[in-house]
Amino acid sequence: MTTTFPSLLTGCVALLCGWVLVGLAGLLRPESVRFAGRTLFTLGAALGLGLAALAGASLLSGGIERLILPIGLPELPLHLRLDPLSSLFLFLLGASSFGISVFAGGYFREGEGTAPGLLCLQYHLFLASMGGVLLANDAYGFLVAWEVMALSSYFLVTTQHRLPEIRRAGFLYLLMAHVGALCLLLCFGVLQGGSWLFTFHAMRAAHLSPGWAAAAFLLALVGFGAKAGLVPLHVWLPDAHPAAPSPVSALMSGVMLKTAVYGMLRVGLDLLGRPVWWWGLAPLILGLFTIFYGVLFAAVQTDMKRLLAYSSVENIGIVFAGIGLTIVFAGSGMKAVAALALLATLYHCLNHAFMKSLLFLGTGSVLHATGERNLGRLGGLIHRMPWVAWLTLIGTLAIAGIPPLNGFVSEWLLLQSFLFAGRLPHAFVNLLIPMGMALLVLGAALAGYVMVKFYGIIFLGQPREASLARAHDCGWLERVGLLWLALGCLALGLFPLQVIRALGAVTAQLIGAVVPQASPHWWLLAPVPGRPVSYGPLVFLTATTAVVLLTVLVVRLTYRQRVRRGPAWDCGFGAVTARMQDTAEGFGQPIRHLFQPFFEIERQLPEPADREPRYRIAIRERIWRLLYEPISAAVDRLANTAARVQQGRISVYLLYSFATLLVLLAVALIS
C-alpha cells in the first residue's frame, strides 16, 4: 500500500533529518551550554515527540509505506519502509527520547569532558541513526545506519576520554560492536540467497536451504545479541553504560538495546519467513540464562550505574526468552500463543525503554547532586531530592514488577504464554520449557531484591557522608524529563488493553494472529480465551489506594493523640552513626554466598589488630577467565607470530613484494 505523497514515512524521514540538522547546529557555538545544551536539546526533544506521534499514527493505521531515495550505492538506492514493526520501535525511540532529551537539556554542564556542542552533534546523530536502522529496507542502508549508531555512541561513551578506564570501556564496546556487525554482514550475505539483491524485499523472496537459513538465524542471534547484551556477549555493557553520561546511558540502555531486538525480530520472524521451531530454543535458553546471570550480578554491584547495567542485561534476557518462545510456538503452528508471547516481548521492550531510561536519568541527577556513583557513600537522599526520589520510585517499582505498574503486565503476559508450552508437540521440550518459566520467576523475584537494594541504599535511611547534606534537587528541565518517563510507566501499566490493541498490528504482521480480548469489560485484561486469567490494573490501583488511605485514616483517627517522637532504641550502644546502616555489600552478601560459583571474588579482610581496618571486595565475572582471556591470549600469540614478518627494513619489504611478484609470474607461466 503506497499512500499519497505527504505520507507518514516522509514525515519520519524529515524528522530524522531534523535531528541531524539540530546536531550540526550544535557546532555553531560548541562551547555554549545555554545554546547547545538547553535550546538544541529541547528542540531535539520536540522532534522526538513528533516522531512518536507519526509512528503512533502509523502503528494504529497498520499500513505499510515504502520510499526509495536516490542516495547510496550506484546499483542500490536507499530503500525505506514503515510497517507496524518499525512504527512500534520508532514510537519507542521518539517517546522515550523526548523525556531523555528534555532531561539532557538541563543535564550537561560546563567543563565536563567534551564540549556541549560536540555532544549535541553526537547525541542527535545517534538518535537519527537509530531511526535509520528502524526505517531501512535494504541491508546496505541498515548496516550503514547500524555502524553510525555504533560509532556515535562510542564517542558518547568516551565523553570523558581523559580517564583511562573510560577509554578502555569504550574500546571494549567498539570491539564487541564490530564483532556483532561482522556477524550481521555475514548474516545478510547468507540471506540474499544467491540473488545478490540486498533489499529486504528480495531477502523475503529468497529461498534458503534449511542449513543456510539456520546459519543466518544463528549469525543474526550472535550479531544482534552482541549489541543487545546477551550473555556471554554482554561484557561491554556493564563497562560502557556507567562510563557514558547518564542521558546517554539511558538512551543506550533504553533505546539502543531495543534496536538490536528490532533487528532480531526483523530477521528472525520477517526476513526468514517461516521459522523452524527449534531455532527458538537458542534465544530461549540464552535468554533465560541471561536473566539469571544479569540479576545475580546486579545484586552484588556497588556502583549504581553498573547495577542498572546488569539489570538491563537481565531485561534483555526476558526479551530474548520471549523471542525464543515466540519462534518455538510459531514454528509449531500455535499461532495464537505465539502472538501472545510476541506481544509480551514487545510490551516488555516498551516498558523497559521507559523504566530503565527513568532510572538511569535518576542516577544522573544523583550523580550531579553528590558526585558519587558508589552506593556506599549515598543514602537518605529522599529528603534532599524529593522530586528525583519519588519519580525514581515509580521506575523502581515498575522494573521490580509490582502491579499496577507496567513491568508487571509484560512479565505476567510472558508467564501466561510460558504456561502453554506443555501443549507443544515435541517431547521433552514441552517438559523443559516450563522449567525455564521457574527461572523467569526467580529472575523476577531477584529483580525485586535488586531494586530494593538500589532504591533503599540511595534514597532511604540516613546520609552516609556529611557531604550529602549539600545535595540539591534537580532543575525543572530534568524534572520534566523524569516526569514524562514516569507518566509513561504509569500509562503503560494502567491501560494495557489499549497498548495491546495498538500492538495487534505488529503481531498480525509477524505472526498472522492477534491476541484476543476475552473479557467484555474495557478495564479487564483477559488475553487467554477459555482460561479464567484476567488482570485489571485500575481495579488494583483503586483497591490499593483505598486500603492505604483507609489505613492512614484509621491510624490518624485512632492514634491521633498518642503519637510520641523519641530517639530510636540503640540497644544500649550510644554511638550509632549513619555508617552503621546496611551497606550495598552487606545487602548483596546473601546472594554472593548462595551463588558463589558464579562469581570470582577477591576479598581482603583486615587483621584483628589492625589500627585502620579496611575491607575490600572485588567481584569479577568468571566469563572473563573462561572465555575472553583465552581468546585474547590466542589473538596475541597469533599477532606475535605474524609480527615476525615485520622486520623494519625496507629492503626486506621490497624483497617480499619481489618474491611475490616472481612467484605469481612463475605460476602464470606454468599454468
Binding site: 606475535n640 609480527a643 615485520q646 622486520q647 623494519g648 627494513r649 625496507i650 629492503s651 621490497l654 624483497l655 613484494s657 619481489f658 611478484l661 616472481l662 609470474l665 612463475a666 602464470a668 607461466l669
Partner: protein
Amino acid sequence: MTHLPLGQQLLDTCAALLLLLSFAMLSQRRVVTLVNLYAAQGAVLAAATLLLAWRTGEEHLYVSAALTLVLKVAFLPWLLHRLIRRLGVYWDTEPLLKVSGTMLAGLVIVVFAFSLAQPITRLASTDTRSAIGIAVSVVLLAFLMMITRRKAMSQVVGFLSMENGVFFGAMSASYGMPMVVELGVALDVLVAVLVLGVFFFQIRERFDSLDLHHLETLKERD
C-alpha cells in the same frame, strides 16, 4: 641470414641498450652516476619511441616521445641532481649484496623474464614484440636494485627506472598505452618524486642521515 629492415634493427639496438643500462645501474654505486644513467635510459627510451612513431605513423607516440624527453631526460634528472646537491649524498654505502652477486642474480632474472615473455610475444602482433622480454627484465632488474640498496636516493632511481621498463613494455606490446593513461602515469611519477623529495628532507631532519637502516626502529616488536 635474413636481413631485418633498418628501423627494426635500430629498435632492437635501443632495446639492448636499455638492458645494458639497467645492468650498469645495478652495478653502479655512485648516486650521481646513477642519475646520469637514468637520464641515459630515458634518452634511449625517447629515441626508441621516436623510431617506433616514425615506423608505425602512430601520432600519439610522438607526444609520448616528447613527454619522455622532457620529463625523464631533462626534468627529473635535474630535480634529482639538485636534491643530491642539497642533501650532500653522493655515494651509496656498501650495498647489501656484493655487486658480483647482484649481477649474477640479475642474469638469472633476465633468463626468467625472457621465458616469461615468450607466451606474450607469441600473442602480440607488433613488430617490436621481441623486446617485451627486455621490458620485463628492466622492471625486475630495477626492483632488484631497490632491494639491494641502503640509501633512499638509489631506491627512488630504481623506482623511476622500473617505470621506464613498464613504459617500454607497453610500447613494444601494443604501441603504447592510451594517451590518457600515459599522461596519468607521467603525472604520478612526477608527484611521487616530489613527495619523496619532501620525505628525504624529513628523514634527514629526524635521523641526520638518509641511511634507511634508521627506519628499522619503527617496527613494533623486537
